[in-house]
């Protein structure tokens, strides 16, 4: 599904943030992405989200070299990817239902075709009672669950999560991780960036360890 072949990245004329990345991500796998602050986790996720291009090496995603993608093809590929941000990034003027349904709406699907699916998913993440609430009325945990629901509603093949437990209490963080595990069991490939090592110990998934811009894999 994803192959890094000697990939490097630097911003402008600055030093290399990532270098000599060589690894593969298989479909249906679950990987933690860990490393200290400033190690390049967010830059690696931005490469995977196609908002950055490698400055050296070759990155292949969904059997395509991302270097050759134009903007339209890139957006089309992005529709196979779900993303969860640490700071949620829900649209404040939309209800929970509308925020979660957004990836389907931008594909031009009529509301009638997805209404029941969105309601079902919101029930599954425990937000059925907040369907018409705007983000300002949701707690941190509810916002993060809404963000996760938005990321998975269009059934992406790849789900990226950038510190999804960073803004919630430890108990909720553990519940959210169980949610990701459940999604992975249903077939979604997941790469979850976190620096909360105590959470990782509860799950036996391979870790992509970033240190000084280089990655090592720990099974």
């Amino acid at each position: 599904m994803i192959e890094f072949d000697n990939v490097g990245l630097h911003y402008g004329t600055g030093p290399e943030i990532l270098r000599n990345l060589n690894f593969k991500i298989d479909p249906g796998s679950f990987h933690f992405l860990t490393g200290p602050s400033g190690a390049g986790k967010t830059s690696l996720l931005r490469l995977l989200l196609l908002s950055l291009r490698p400055t050296s090496g070759k990155l292949t995603m969904f059997d395509k070299d991302v270097a050759g993608l134009d903007k339209e093809a890139m957006m089309a590929m992005r529709q196979h990817i779900g993303i969860v941000f640490q700071e949620f990034r829900l649209l404040e003027h939309l209800t929970t239902f509308e925020n979660v349904a957004l990836p389907l709406a931008v594909r031009g699907e009529p509301e009638a075709s997805y209404r029941s699916n969105v309601q079902e998913l919101l029930d599954w993440v425990g937000l059925g009672h907040q369907i018409n609430a705007r983000p300002e009325l949701l707690s941190g945990g509810e916002k993060q669950r809404a963000a996760i629901a938005r990321a998975v509603i269009a059934k992406p093949e790849l789900l990226l999560a950038d510190e999804p437990t960073g803004n919630v209490d430890p108990e909720l963080a553990e519940r959210l991780l169980h949610l990701f595990v459940e999604l992975n069991r249903m077939g979604t490939t997941i790469i979850l960036a976190t620096h909360e090592l105590h959470l990782l110990d509860q799950f036996r998934f391979p870790r992509l360890q970033l240190q000084d811009g280089e990655v090592s894999i720990h099974d």
Binding site: R78, A101, E111
Partner: protein, 308 residues
């Protein structure tokens, strides 16, 4: 309400907030620009109509001027001039401007009691042309020269030319002002659109992250800006219509009759008529269209500069 209608057939989710400070500022700006454009257009339209009516009226009239002579000879000369005029092709009527008529015309400047009887004034014959194209001025001049060598013809041509030049200048200046207002509208819409896009940058980023194409994002913002342009245009156009109605009421009922006559001399009847109202609607449509096209180009430029 307008944007709800525009969004009905697109997507049920309104990705661009319906009300924002930037949106309200743009709507107010478009309303003001539309009001100025409509008032300018209305004024130009009325001056043009008035000038055409004046010019046409003046073009249908000539005056024969007879130098003063003593006694009954003057009366005979006037009759001869009227007779020669009536025999000419294209002439509908010819009548003498009597001393009483002259006194009435001069009354606003010389007063009602002023008596012209003691003055040796030229006598005038006013000739109304039923068909100005059939009228042959040279032929009438020749006949007058044979019978009344001192008679002269004044067709008001120089005055008509000055009037046309003046109205032409007003119309040209008005159209220039209209173009400048349109140009200012375009520039203001560019600034307002850029501001609105910058304030909605988070929405653009999130839409990009969930795979929305630039076409989708541009469409969403564009329909919002079109709705704003239309709302502002309708408000500005309606305000201009109210302005003309009030101006008509003031000139007809509130101003002293002499002042009202002077205003009417310049603008004609202070009323736009159906054609004028249709013109205002076209101005509103042009402003809304300009806002839409300008914001479309600005949004596409903004999206091209923003990394997805």
């Amino acid at each position: 309400m307008i944007d709800q209608f525009l969004n009905r057939n697109r997507s049920e989710i309104s990705v661009v907030p319906r009300s924002s400070i930037a949106g309200r500022t743009l709507a107010l700006l478009v309303a003001i620009m539309t009001f100025l454009s409509c008032v300018t257009f209305g004024a130009v339209y009325m001056v043009q109509n008035s000038a055409v009516a004046w010019s046409s009226e003046v073009g249908r009239e000539i005056t024969i001027q007879l130098q003063p002579v003593q006694g009954d000879e003057m009366t005979s000369n006037v009759r001869t001039a009227i007779s020669l005029a009536l025999d000419s092709p294209g002439v509908g009527s010819a009548k003498e401007l009597t001393i009483e008529d002259s006194e009435r015309l001069l009354a606003p400047w010389l007063g009602d009691e002023f008596d012209l009887e003691g003055f040796d004034l030229p006598r005038l014959v006013v000739v109304h042309l039923s068909d100005p194209r059939a009228f042959d001025r040279a032929s009438l001049e020749e006949k007058l020269n044979q019978s009344l060598p001192d008679a002269t013809i004044d067709s008001h041509k120089p005055w008509q030319q000055k009037l046309n030049a003046m109205s032409g200048t007003i119309v040209f200046s008005g159209l220039l002002a209209l173009m400048l207002i349109m140009a200012a509208t375009i520039l203001a819409v560019i600034f307002a659109t850029n501001g609105a896009m910058a304030s909605n940058r988070e929405i653009v980023d999130v839409l990009h992250f969930i795979g929305a194409s630039d076409r989708y994002i541009a469409g969403a913002f564009q329909s919002r800006f079109f709705a704003i342009g239309l709302q502002g245009g309708i408000v500005g156009g309606a305000a201009a219509l109210v302005f003309f109605i009030l101006a008509g009421i003031i000139t007809n009922y509130l101003l002293p009759s002499q002042n009202a006559e002077q205003v009417e001399l310049l603008f004609g009847q202070f009323s736009l008529g159906w054609l004028g109202i249709i013109g205002l609607i076209i101005v509103v449509a042009i402003i809304a269209g300009l806002t839409s096209i300008t914001s479309r180009i600005t949004v596409h430029r903004f999206l091209a500069q923003v990394a997805p």
